[in-house]
Symmetry: C2
Subunit: 177 residues, 2 copies
DNA sequence: GGTTAATATGCAACTATTTGCATAGATACA
DNA sequence: TGTATCTATGCAAATAGTTGCATATTAACC
């Protein structure tokens, strides 16, 4: 499982609370690894038990206490070990494409609506990625870690625009049936 | 869940055994919905209980008996109902991209090897898709269902070649760090 | 003669993910 | 004054997916 590792990767940047991690999983790293806060809190418990993170409670006035998780040397080692193991190919599961496989048994108008929504979702993502690139990476001096993130960000931008093009092409074909 | 629906979609083509379905999930529909035979047999049991498929045992000499599953009218209706419901955006989970997010804590040579393997996997897929297109779709008269499959197949071919290009670009960037 | 692959089905255990619920103070808005 | 949102954590149940095992016959290959 790589949820554990995705969390460790986040913590290489800085110590964080579960809440911070959940927000990260909605933003940066969440672009290719999504996880709910419930999953993250549970996984943090496991990582603590293994000694990969150190968890310390910090009191705040007014707000509930935060528990800040710090990557330990053992955690860093686990991360490097994991990085050498073969990556699984991502499991594709797409409802929308399955629906194309039985066009005669499907509601075509509903399918078109779903395609429109899907295109909009990718456009939203694309805009988000471009903004992040402009704000945090363009014209800056970058260290190794930042360069890695930029590589992924740029591939994400390309991927999203290409996906939008393909989906629009499918829409046209669906309209011409 | 759409495993159930993916099975129903397969059965719109023709009645099949669990074994046939498992093979289909390794080939055509499996390009965007993967499932193991264990999962399929379990799901078939549920579909039978719901009355969405009719299961009949057929004896064969020599080989073990097959159980042929046929889509019922209720199953067909369930499929159409499902088709009108919003499609979820596919959940992205990619180890390989996560590894780029902590380049300083990762084994770079191992990462390059994994990139190479990933590129080869996509090339294999691309070749498979192109062959299927040539063999079963090029220059043929197609009905509505076949046209739907062709649309997905063509988008798959484009997707794979674009993915290969993006991965190769990432490899170059990784080499120039 | 022995090994491997293909055909054909399925249970059981484990791991992962999703969904619903629960708590509780602070702040902002209408 | 009520509603909504943000901060911050987590349990429990249900659903989904993976991995390991189990059985049994045929056919091809070395």
């Amino acid at each position: 499982m790589a949820l554990a590792e995705a969390i460790l990767v986040c913590l290489t940047e800085r110590p964080m609370s579960g809440y911070d991690l959940a927000k990260n999983f909605d933003a940066s790293i969440g672009f290719f690894w999504r996880a709910s806060h419930q999953q993250i809190y549970r996984e943090l418990g496991r990582l603590r038990e293994k000694g990969y993170v150190l968890s310390e409670e910090v009191s705040q006035n007014g707000k509930p206490n935060r528990i800040i998780h710090t990557l330990t040397p053992a955690g860093k080692k686990a991360l490097r070990d994991w990085s050498t193991k073969p990556a699984k190919h991502p499991s594709l599961k797409d409802d929308l494409l399955v629906k194309f496989y039985a066009l005669e048994n499907v509601d075509l108008d509903a399918l078109k609506d779903q395609m429109t929504i899907r295109i909009e979702q990718h456009q939203t993502k694309l805009v988000k990625y471009v903004r992040i690139k402009e704000r945090y990476y363009d014209g800056k001096d970058l260290d190794l870690t930042q360069k890695g993130k930029l590589i992924v960000l740029e591939q994400g931008i390309l991927q999203e625009s290409q996906t939008i093009e393909r989906l629009e092409d499918m829409m046209v074909k669906l309209g011409n049936l």
